[in-house]
Symmetry: C3
Subunit: 136 residues, 3 copies
């Protein structure tokens, strides 16, 4: 059987605030339980971690109704970047930016918030994430 300390490997593809919040809450929960967490940022998620935009409004999933979008925005929870910072303090949480997506959006490591540990290729990510992968 899978042990409680099985690593949680998250690929973040979407860059909207609702999905990033859901992912951050998962990372905090896993870290609190002693599970190592590997986060791999791809596509629109990478751009959401740009240091000049990380606190900007990244919108919500397009399926949200206007009423739902308002309720999500009005919810007084912590920002997902703050939750991820806490997850990193709580446990073994690493955040990697996908090298290919960085190239796609013409980004360098220094363009990203320092919460991102490094830039790596898919092969390196999958060496760490040798088990299950959650795609968000």
């Amino acid at each position: 059987m899978i042990e409680t300390e099985a690593p949680l490997s998250l690929i973040l593809f979407s860059g909207t605030d609702d999905k990033l919040s859901a992912a951050a809450v998962l990372a905090v929960g896993a870290a609190a339980m002693g599970r190592p967490v590997n986060v791999f940022l791809q596509y629109y998620a990478v751009e959401a971690f740009r240091s000049d935009r990380i606190h900007a409004d990244h919108g919500v999933a397009l399926e949200a109704s206007i009423a739902q979008a308002k309720q999500v925005a009005a919810y007084p929870g912590q920002h997902w970047s703050e939750l991820l910072r806490q997850a990193k303090e709580l446990g073994d949480v690493k955040i990697h930016a996908c090298a290919l997506s960085m190239e796609m959006f013409h980004l360098e490591k220094c363009d990203l918030d320092p919460i991102v540990d490094d830039v790596e290729g898919v092969a390196a990510f999958m060496t760490d994430a040798s088990g299950p992968i959650t795609f968000i």
Copy 2:
């Protein structure tokens, strides 16, 4: 190696009928194979389980073309809520609503269809879902 009876932990984030149907079919398949299933409802999926709206039209993914949306709607399969009910009869299937999302949308347990077992926090969900997580 992972055993056949490994639990299937599903986080439902999206509230469109196509994704909820895909999730329900997975839950039925897993239950039929004797896998325990933990479902955690977040964001737009929680609202889709409101007892006053569960059979309403929840739309499809926004990437669907008009032709595709028509074909999905015309398909004479069972409603996802009915499939989930069957999954619960077949095996060990639990459906939890995320406490944080309930608060976000100002919902109480009694607002949800009785197919939902309870409201719980992420920490409680992750105690059950100590292994892989599928995010839909």
Copy 3:
């Protein structure tokens, strides 16, 4: 603990080029590491594998800004179908189309690109994918 050679089971639901590319890169990475890969095509992903449309423009996630969509389109990487072909040459990679989705879109096996191995039901897929499932 989960072994390095744990199978990677991917359910492809979305049919946009960005998500299909992310999935294909994952499949190549897993195959290169000796992990068996099971791909199950549902909904809009099935239609993307139609032999008469596989190289057509399938768009990107609707959350992409116009600038992002342009950067994704301008990136000179290989087409996802070519990456999947390479993954199949590298390792044990099988691509199955979901029988229910085929029926929904009135498709036959011969309508799909030969890269798709067969059409099967969810039960058959889950017999292979007895472990973790990544939903994309």
